[in-house]
Symmetry: C2
Subunit: 466 residues, 2 copies
């Protein structure tokens, strides 16, 4: 076993939870992009009221998978079927462990019959890359890891730039960019549009009904393309979104970016753990939050729990298939949005204005997550009934929200208790100060967090006492 592998790090540590809860890697940041272009409140408001430009060029890994077996190879690792994965389409691609737990997720683009691009966090890219080395499929793989977290003035380059444009004014901007109506691209399909004299690939996506496009191309054309977008958008209130607002977008759209990769325990993955480096995401990515189990598997989640069960297709063989088949029809935890009680949030903040230091964990706005993976206990009658996994403040909702999972019998509207902060004054992570734990009431709400829910019951409760 290499001394520089995840396997050796795990063996030396003896306790994976303790290892990851005390990682010194620091904040999981959205690198290179400026923290703010205007200010994060207005940047959040713009994705609902006008239009936003997300620069996604830097925070995700990219994996280019090519070869005659590319489709068969990728499908062998995926809960998704490739039966309807035509050219110029994209999929939300989810690999699971042999035990049926989520390793991660990426967006997979099919550029050619024999060429795919995977874009997302490291765990999925690493897992696919490793499997490519096993020689079972005829594929070649190129990995472009995300940009450094603290480039410190050094030049940063990527293979591709990647922009998203969203919001109610986006269609007008697309038409101007394209110099005429754009093709009617179906959801998660790809077509070509014009941007400033160049033809670029565009993926149709969108959140909450508003159409959006993601475009990409050679990184060296990035500035030219951005300038063309900004020029086309003149007068249409397009806001460039900085790193501080960016990661909070998912609170409103309901995707959980950071499940712990379920790769630490299954015996069939020992080869993978020996292959993974001692300095990579899996060995250094941190776990933060009030939930401390002695079993790392308690942090794993299934596709059923994340709401990805409708992706699962048993028309192909894949790693984890039999485990998922055994889970089928059982009772599963479910994904929800937790809406945080304003009065309790104020209590936490106010504790940081009392000299003497007996403070609750600072809630950093708009993005208080302090680890690569967050796991906060959500309680009911003294029993843990859920786990909060990604949090943030929405200026649109004037509310702290988090995404997570709850037991099947928890209902929308239930008021539960989130335990905020880590026990025993906090872990050894560099990303948090010493603190005590607080209880914050949270109301279970739908995912994506819906205007209806807000208007029907949430408002009076949220504003109580504030």
């Amino acid at each position: 076993m290499s001394e520089n592998s995840l396997a050796s790090v795990l063996k030396e540590s003896g306790n994976t939870v303790e290892l990851l809860r005390n990682s010194k890697i620091g904040m999981y940041v959205y690198p290179v992009v400026a923290p703010e272009f205007s200010n994060w409140r207005e940047e959040q408001r713009a994705w609902r009221d006008s239009a936003v430009l997300f620069d996604q060029s830097h925070h995700m890994d990219e994996l280019i998978v090519e070869g005659p077996d590319a489709a068969a190879f990728l499908e062998s690792l995926s809960i998704n079927s490739f039966a309807n994965f035509g050219l110029n389409r994209a999929k939300h691609y989810v690999p699971v462990s042999p035990s049926g737990h989520v390793i991660g997720d990426v967006i997979a683009f099919r550029e050619r019959e024999d060429k795919f691009i995977l874009v997302g966090r490291a765990p999925t890219c690493n897992w696919v890359k490793y499997n490519g080395t096993l020689g079972k499929f005829n594929v070649s793989i190129v990995h472009d890891p995300r940009s450094p977290s603290r480039p410190d003035g050094k030049e940063v380059t990527r293979v591709h730039y990647r922009f998203q444009i969203q919001g109610p004014n986006a269609p007008k901007i697309f038409e101007r960019m394209n110099g005429g109506p754009i093709p009617d691209i179906k959801f998660f399909h790809v077509d070509w549009i014009n941007v400033g004299g160049r033809k670029v690939q565009a993926l149709r996506h969108g959140m909450a009904g508003a159409p959006g496009l993601e475009i990409w191309g050679p990184y060296e054309e990035k500035d030219e393309i951005r300038d063309a977008i900004l020029k086309a958008a003149e007068g249409l209130d397009l806001y460039q979104v900085g790193a501080r607002a960016y990661s909070t977008n998912t609170l409103e759209s309901g995707w959980i970016p950071s499940p712990l990769p379920a790769i630490y325990t299954h015996p069939d993955m020992q080869g993978y753990r020996e292959w993974l480096p001692a300095a990579g995401y899996e060995a250094t990515g941190s776990i933060g939050g009030s939930y401390v189990s002695d079993n790392i598997e308690d942090y794993y989640v299934t596709p059923f729990e994340l709401g990805y069960d409708f992706y699962i297709k048993y028309d192909h063989d894949f790693i984890g298939r039999s485990a998922l088949e055994a889970m089928q029809g059982k009772t599963h935890r479910k994904k929800v949005t937790f809406e945080w009680n304003a009065e309790d949030v104020m209590k936490v903040i106010a504790s940081n204005f009392v000299p003497g230091g007996d403070n609750y964990k600072w809630i950093d706005f708009p993005q208080p997550n302090y680890a690569s993976t967050s796991a906060d206990m959500v309680m009911h009658d003294g029993k843990m009934v859920g786990m909060s996994m990604f949090n943030g403040y929405s200026f649109n909702e004037r509310c702290m929200l988090s995404l997570g999972i709850v037991d099947a019998d928890i209902q929308e509207g239930d008021v539960l208790t989130l335990v905020w902060g880590e026990p025993n004054g906090g872990s050894g992570k560099t990303s948090t100060e010493r603190h005590k734990q607080a209880e914050i009431r949270v109301r279970v709400s739908p995912t994506p967090y819906a205007r209806e829910a807000r208007e029907n019951y949430a408002e009076s409760w949220r504003t109580k006492g504030s």
Copy 2:
């Protein structure tokens, strides 16, 4: 008059206050350096409890002034005397306008008889540079402007790196860096020390009694020097300070970094305004805050008001001398620290947790300034008695603090009212969201903000109701 000059911009605008209050330049940021290395609360705590490494390589302009007349030239623009400005010393150098108002301030280092390096914000560097072009003195000037605010992955270089090391553990770190005791450098004197096999220049400075050193050298040696410092500091709890915590250090040490340069009105400075560009600091630097006067001169401050009167020496002729002589012995406003009432701060924050949008101006932590120059009204009995000029949250003090000036008859301990936020829903600056104005009680405290004051009277008041 060039169309690309400050003078033409001012003429076109017709209202300088309105021009600067509505600048679209965005936040005044501390560029390139990572927002956080660990977390900003711990980084603040470290400068009081252990030791910090400030990376000052990027946020300041540098001006290298050389030539047989260098000393005479610089002294002709400065309230400071150069009589005792020996080799290897530094001065807090302050030029004023012909009306005796502060243009800015820098640290001036004398490297040789005929060579000085000025380090600080743009206004002083621009003013000195301009005067160098007038041909009255035999000097040559090289200007290295600060790094771009949003480098976006492009390479950034400077002439010099610049680090500061401060805190109670700093002396032990210096000794280890140097490989033995360092020379006994007097305050604001420069000597040479060893760092990782290189000889580097070190300025002795310090805040609140704790010794500190500022070291600099060729930018290409930056990484090597930083690594040597970090290695020397192992086990001594040295924290690298990120951009978010950095600018709040001055709240505890009492220096106001951002007075408005007093260059917009005096007729003798029309040539300067024609020389200054339309895209520079003076034309685009923003004014933010509740204080709106129709006269830009109301934002000017004097050396007396900033506590720099002890620098003024009439042993030489300098621009503004006669104006200062006329001010001598008069009653002046004075610099103070405003300690913000926690209950009122909470009221402002809580308004951002009420759906519907009738929010007070967001207080962004730890650095809520939203302009190049801040000017918030400080009131007593409905009358403006002061101006808050730079604010921030101190985790050490568990308190919002700001620096500013008050009328001479205001006493320490007085409770005044700071008007937080801009009138009419906010200006046209991109750095702020729409908001309404709030009143925040502030207690007048000494500058630098003293532990004694805190312990003797502040504590009970600050915690009231929180």
